[in-house]
Amino acid sequence: MIFTPQGGLKKNRMDWLLFLSVLILLAIGTVSIISSVAVLPNQARIVRVQFMAIPMALLAFSAAWSLNYQVYQDQWKYVYGLLLVMLAGVLLFGVVDKGSRSWYRLPFFSIQPSEFARVGLILVLANFLDKRIGKIKELQTVLGAFALCVPVFFLLIKQPDFSGILLTFPVAIIMLFAAGASLFHLSIILGYAFISGLFPILWSIINLNPELLDNTLVSYFFHLSDSGWSAFSFAAAVAVGAWMLWRLSVKLYTNVTGLYFAGAALVLILGFFSGVLVKHQMKEYQQKRLEVFLSPETDPRGAGYNLMQARIAIGSGGILGRGIFSGTQSRLGFVPERHTDFILAVVGEEMGFWGMLLVTGFYVILMGRIMQGARLARDRFGYLVNCGIFGMFLVYFCINFGMLLGLAPVAGVPLPLVSYGGSNLVAMMAAVGIAESVYARRYALV
């Protein structure tokens, strides 16, 4: 046991430790943003937006904290409807930035609805799982949860916003896991996701090493995604192969139900088709990022250069850092996207190992307090909501850190509360507010 139950019995309306860690992360982030944009031409705008976003984020936090979270359960249809409308609307009325149509342009700032949709989806999923808790071990529940996600994913692909899916999918898995879904079902889902991710990666590897195409089998595999017929032939081959294996197992008296073979084949085929979909929807720069992650030396001057420069920035900070506002790597522009995705490079360079330890430590505390909220929640909905929010922060944390330290591909994922990004900050503070609301209302009669 990591948490003592007594800790939660105090009748605080507010989890001050959670709030403190949020404020510290926000402070570190703001200082780093100001430092990193010092030489950018649009620095005034960025700083202005950041200082505009902070009060709005605090407002969203207070509003979400004061509002009883159970409202979301009652009105889940509106929440779900609103988020779908927001995502659909951005495809019609949004503006394009960096190749994605994902922004609402307002007079003073822009809003990215997918950030809010992510939080909304957590609420909707929590409600769904709460309602279906009796049948949580059934496959229908798992599929139902994903059925709720599918429209959102579809709208995100249309933008296109792959990192949005990359962030939302694991959150759904974590919530299902926390709700007590069958591990077998979860592994089917994970297998599906794994296969749909595996195919594009394999194709990228072949792309990087053209000499592999000399092998006919590899060549056949590589051209699978080219046309519908070859894709269909692959699906048919997998189905026939699964059927033959099942017949074999029957002949061998292994007593394995055919369901498993059918399921495995289905997962493989579905994963293959979504892999093809992903491959065809992937933008060139995303393809490039994947390739760079797989072999960083292919383009040391291009995409790999960015990652290398970020690593130099962090490393050059040493233990004590080079001093706030004194990092040469980030201030002179060697680190790309330094105020958003690579904000940690700035922290690492200017504040050193201790700064990074501070960020990591307060992130762990933040996640721990949200989890504590889940533990103490008065109802299952609150528990699931907090688990979702916890999962969301965990996924952000892992992908952003991992990307920076070369443990994950560059995915364009910011670090919430630290990175620059108004919509993201407001949405994340709202999420923390909801988590606080769950914590504050942990007793039925408070």
Binding site: G302, G315, Q329, G333, F334, G352, T360, G368, R378, C387
Partner: protein, 618 residues
Amino acid sequence: MIDRQIPQERLELLWVLAYGAALIFIIRLVNLQVVGGAHYRELAEKNRTQVIAQAAPRGRIFSSDEVALATSKPSFSLIYFPGQAKTNAEIDRMAKALSRPLGADYDDLRKSIYRAASREKPVRLAENLPPKIMLSLSELKAVYPGIDIIVEARRYYPFGAYLSHLIGYIGKIDSRDWTALSKDKNYSMDSRLGKAGLEKMYEGVLKGKDGGIYLEVDSRGKVNKVLESRKWVPGADIFLTVDSKAQAAAEQGLKKSISGKGAVVALDPRTGAIIAFASAPDYDPNMFVLSGSEREGLPAGKILPEFNVALQGTYPPGSVFKIITSAAILESGRVRPEDKVFCPGYYDAGDRVFKCDEKRGHGNLDFIGGLAKSCNVYFYVNGQRSGALTIEKYARAFRLGQTSGIALPDEKPGNVFGPSARAAKKSYWFIGDTLNLAIGQGETLITPMQAAGVISAVANRGTFYRPYYVERIVKSDGQLLYKGKPEKLSTVEMKDSTWELMREGLHSVVEEGTGQVAQIKGAEIYGKTGTAQNPHGKDHAWFVAYATVNDQPSKIAVAVLVENGGHGAASAAPIAKAVIEAALRYDLKPKTPTTPAQPEKARAPSLPQAPVPAKGEL
């Protein structure tokens, strides 16, 4: 608490996930920041600093009358800083845009930019940009970040081919130089260094200390601020003993001569300082400054006329050798100078008849007459009397067959032949050899530098100095680094009467003999013509002379060789006269040598540039 159907252990599992991820990240951070901190700090420093090396201006080279012979002038270079334009596509585009105004090959340009980008070092894409191109380049500069135009000091030889064989030239560092100099911090891949002549010999003092601007640049290669600016130290200036006007006279004389090939060496008999040093054909050292190697700078199909006739050309001395034969005759004691020899126009050596230049014969000649008329028969007869061995001895005493000792590379020693040399080769000596030896034909070969040494020794009565051309070297801060001093190599010991007779004989050569062309009003000229027989073509013309004014010690001794110039008196003597006139211009013109100022300008031969009024002569 209500039962919320929550599997507690799953909560703990999720928590462990977060914890574990944080732990992995911290381990990775320790690796990056704590362990690798110093390494990455270095990389970051390398990232942000860019050095523009600024080549120090090379030391200048002056003549003794302070005319700048090699100097520096500003030139504009196009530099590429590896910055933002780093991706291959960008470099390709930039190279394409630059190749047209520069007139450079697209592939070469692209390659050099690629190399610079991968090494993260700036590179000069073009040098010495003409103003026309500059305008279009400065437009491109705005479009393509990373290229810039800078000013540099560039070597410049104002008079082109003037004194080129002594000065030499500079060029780009090549792979051979690089292996020797790569450890020297003062040289980089694109520095220039002396490749020949003085530029090579005095590379160490001429080359200053390069400076550099250490810039902080951002990722686009744009300069952010200057971190440090290290000023260069210019190289030391070299002042030569060469007189600009005498040198000009020598070069013009050679250029105007029949063949345009030859050499002039003028020495100061009092010190051994070189007053003029010309060798034709010559070359314009400016053409190597820009291009890399020698081959690049030359027009296609041409060979560099690097051959220094004054030091490396060996020729039969012809009648010039009669100076040495005279010394042998007078010193042998077997011939009295007033003894007459009858010249019928030929000499019968028994098995073969040797001819004199004058077919009708010179008649009766004593020593003075024989030398003045350059009568072969006189020297055949008396050469035999004094003996071949004596002539050989004096040839060696006058330092033939050995290098003059001048500080220039590849000097040829020439050849002395005589009975002892033959004996060493285990061969025989014949009478014919003695006759040939006496008049400077046969196997004797000398360089113009040796001829100048001989006449200079006659002028100062026997002393050989090491010829030198650096009068002084002055550091850029005015400090004297080196002062050229006369260095006595050897002396020829002879009787005073011998010197006096030789002097008289050489004087009569110019007064009434073969060298009358060389007469100068106001000065006494002592000379000897020479016409060296050349089996491959026209004879080589020689003239050696020294001059005195008002019975003062001689200030100039000159040797002139015109290859295939025919008769020495016709083609070589006028050049010597012009050189002597130019060198003695302060002594000759004014009747009273106390006021030499006014007439000097009027008298000055056509020179490329009027020199700074000199502070008197050396």
